[in-house]
């Protein structure tokens, strides 16, 4: 499919959609699907047929619109005046959003009533306002299509401008220009560490595939690789899952652009086996993109070819670490190895490898289309763009949110999140999963960006944000994360393998009331040792939850230890 054909497909799809006055978007993300949202979609379709209105409305299964706590969600987007008068360059999503109604806690039985009210007054008992802070405070870049496009239809993605960025890159830009654009945008890795993406791409592009010995298996024709890290192991984080489920084509497009920029012809998406729906949707997306000539050989009629394979994880947290992930793709135990050489020089099968997080790659197509300046205009001086967070725990609105960098924690928890339920008090927010820390109330007005979070002893992480109220026992939280790290330690290096066990033992002792102040000293010594001597990120960050709770909630520890 070349650019002309792509535009023609987009126009046709938009015209077809414009014929319908009402678009019913049913969320089929994991959370809503668990609440039977597919039944709702069927019931809505049946009701449309029964009431003879299927000519003017369509039911579409879409990805997660974010507000999971009110699910299953159905959004009804209607045009005010009706008639196919929509301008061709306006995406249906934009046009529809103006008159949208969102229904919460929908049941299949509600379908007839919803359809009967199409075009008239919305069903009041199900309606939830769209102008609440949860929606108005967000800035959607990565998630702009989630909840709008059908993840199982490539035409739907093309209609909102999908694959335009890829063809623009292939026909108008050199690989160096692409890298420069990404560098100027200031995009940083969304997996947690925040490494500048442009710099990484530039290193892989310059790397010589012959510098290190390689052993690429038969049948793979590439000497550089692009890997999309979808091994979202942090408990309490589901951002990447939602993007993979709700907008899989965007990840493929981002990967293809990255591959063109660094000179790779083969890519892997490493997804957790715990995300069957994401795997299924990605497989469908790859098949569709190949059939449309947007993946595979001679993409868009150019000389560039790029193939993507999916590899399943098998439940090892450490595989989120890049060298462990590559060991797993190679078919072995997922254990990390010392760096350097960095994957950018010697990665998968010894070849230069670009490894980016799902969210990082999903940011790429809009940067190419709208320009680096547009992206750099969002966020703070050092942290550009937006960040997706999975807001969970003791907070009213749980779900998926996307906010500009630099927003304060208070805005996230109290405006978007709606505050703490049951009249309890805010105590802390935990970011970064087992590698992060707990941020207490005194830092609520701190901006959320890579540097500020690091300064208070936490990390941005992949985006899990767990709110805790005053009934939460912070030592128990630290012990929970330590138990996690202890179980998930791969056992390769001793500080992590033995240190996490010892720290967990002391934390248990504290909880049982058997510890003394001497144990606290040992605990602090161990934190320092494990942090500085472990081989990979898992061990180096495993003490963070203990260090941060010791720093901000020391009273709780002291109240449980005896002098000694």
């Amino acid at each position: 499919m070349n650019l002309e054909e792509l535009n023609a497909t987009a126009t046709n799809e938009r015209l077809a959609q414009a014929k319908k006055n009402h678009h019913l978007h049913v969320c089929v993300g994991t959370a809503c699907q668990a609440l039977n949202s597919e039944q709702i979609a069927k019931a809505l379709q049946t009701a449309l047929r029964q009431q003879g209105r299927n000519g003017e409305a369509e039911v579409k299964c879409v990805g997660c619109p974010g507000l999971c706590s009110l699910g299953p969600l159905v959004e009804v987007a209607s045009r005010v005046n009706g008639g196919p008068t929509q301008p061709a360059n306006e995406s249906p999503a934009d046009a529809n959003h103006r008159t949208a109604v969102l229904y919460q806690f929908v049941k299949p039985e509600d379908a007839e009533e919803i359809i009967a009210h199409l075009g008239g007054e919305p069903v009041k008992r199900l309606e939830t306002p769209l102008d609440q802070p949860f929606f108005t405070r967000q800035t959607k870049v990565v998630l702009e299509n989630c909840g709008k496009v059908d993840p199982e239809r490539i035409e739907d993605y093309i209609a909102v401008g999908g694959y335009q960025a890829l063809l623009k890159v292939l026909t108008e830009m050199t690989p160096q220009q692409v890298i420069d654009e990404i560098t100027r945008s200031g995009l940083r890795g969304r997996g947690g560490a925040g490494f500048p993406t442009g710099l990484k791409w530039g290193t892989v592009a310059k790397a010589d595939p012959n510098r290190y010995p390689t052993n690429v298996p038969e049948g793979i024709q590439s000497r550089k690789f692009v890997i999309c890290n979808g091994d979202e192991g942090d408990p309490g984080a589901f951002m990447d899952r939602s993007v993979m489920e709700g907008d899989p084509h965007r990840i493929l497009e981002g990967m293809a652009i990255a591959a063109y920029a660094v000179g790779a012809n083969h890519g892997f998406i490493y997804v957790r086996a715990e995300y069957p729906l994401a795997v299924k949707r990605l497989r469908t997306a790859i098949r569709q993109a190949q059939r449309a000539g947007l993946l595979g050989n001679a993409i868009g009629g150019t000389a560039f070819s790029f193939n993507v394979e999916i590899r399943l994880g098998a439940g090892a947290f450490v595989c989120g670490e890049e060298t462990a992930l590559m060991a797993s793709i190679e078919g072995g135990r997922g254990t990390p190895r010392p760096r350097p050489p960095f994957p950018a020089e010697s990665g998968l099968w010894g070849c230069p490898t670009l490894i980016n997080n799902v969210e990082t790659l999903a940011n790429v197509p809009p940067i190419i289309l709208k320009g680096a300046e547009w992206f750099a205009g969002i966020g703070t001086e050092k942290s550009k763009g937006t960040k997706v967070f999975a807001l969970t725990g003791q907070v009213k609105n749980t779900g998926l949110i996307e906010v500009p960098m630099g927003i304060s924690l208070r805005e996230i928890v109290f405006d978007i999140g709606g505050g703490i339920p049951d009249g309890k008090e805010f105590k802390a927010v935990q970011t970064g999963g087992p590698s992060g820390g707990c941020i207490p109330a005194q830092f609520l007005d701190m901006p959320v960006d890579y540097e500020s979070l690091a300064k208070v002893g936490s990390i941005m992480g992949s985006g899990g944000m767990i709110v805790m109220d005053d009934s939460t026992d912070m030592i128990e939280v630290a012990r929970f994360f330590m138990e996690f790290c202890m179980d998930e330690s791969c056992g390769k290096c001793i500080p992590c393998r033995a240190g996490t066990v010892q720290m967990h033992r002391i934390l248990t002792k504290i909880q049982e009331g058997k510890a003394t102040t001497r144990d606290l000293q040992i605990l602090e010594g161990l934190c320092d040792l494990v942090k500085h001597t472990s081989l990979c990120g898992l061990g180096q960050s495993a003490p963070n939850p203990v260090i941060s709770t010791l720093r901000y909630f020391r009273d709780e520890y002291l109240s449980k230890v005896k002098p000694g």
Binding site: F238, A314, G334, A390, G393, I466
Partner: protein
């Protein structure tokens, strides 16, 4: 390892395809599925995890025979195959019960009481996490986050997600599901 295994795919050594067909491989069509997976990766070592995935999907667990079969087919040392199969939490070497219940112990579930949910199931059904009931009806497992945190605490029963469970009622919910499936 028995020498009656037929190495699928590649001929052994000097090109002679080895020996007697094994009854079990011929009788059980599920080995064909694993074979197809390994063929997709050209019987190369990097297909090991994918092969183990399809074996576990086909049989529910990985027994010695299947592991040896994969070892042969991919021409890997048995230590490597056993090492990989035991490294990843997803793979199990023990047969599972007829039904599987998984309790999420992710952070969001944890602070909303997943521990209590787990112990309620343990005492209600007389099974420890990681074990199977005496009548082989229910296996109880734990997981590190399904990513359905908005529904916390979450459990799955035979792959179906059940959200916002409570310690008081969860054992009953499972008993009910076991009973309905027994009727079918």
């Amino acid at each position: 390892m028995t020498n009656t295994l037929t190495p699928p795919g590649r001929p052994v050594g000097d090109g002679a395809v080895a020996v007697k067909p094994d009854d079990r491989l011929a009788a059980d069509k599920r080995y064909k599925i694993i074979e197809a997976t390994m063929r997709r990766y050209g019987y190369q070592g990097h297909g090991l995890i994918e092969a183990l995935h399809s074996a576990q999907e086909a049989f529910g667990y990985l027994d010695d025979f299947t592991l040896k079969y994969i070892t042969r087919a991919l021409r890997l040392p048995p230590s490597k195959v056993f090492g990989v199969a035991t490294f990843y939490n997803h793979f199990t070497l023990k047969p599972q019960g007829v039904h599987t219940c998984v309790v999420c112990l992710g952070t969001a579930c944890y602070i909303k009481g997943a521990r209590e949910v787990l112990s309620a199931i343990e005492s209600g059904h007389g099974v420890k996490a990681g074990g199977t009931t005496a009548d082989n009806q229910l296996s109880l497992l734990t997981a590190r986050c399904f990513g359905s945190c908005a529904l916390a605490p979450v459990i799955t029963f035979d792959g179906e997600t059940i959200g916002k469970v409570a310690p008081q009622t969860v054992a009953g919910q499972i008993a009910q599901r076991l009973a309905t499936s027994a009727l079918r």
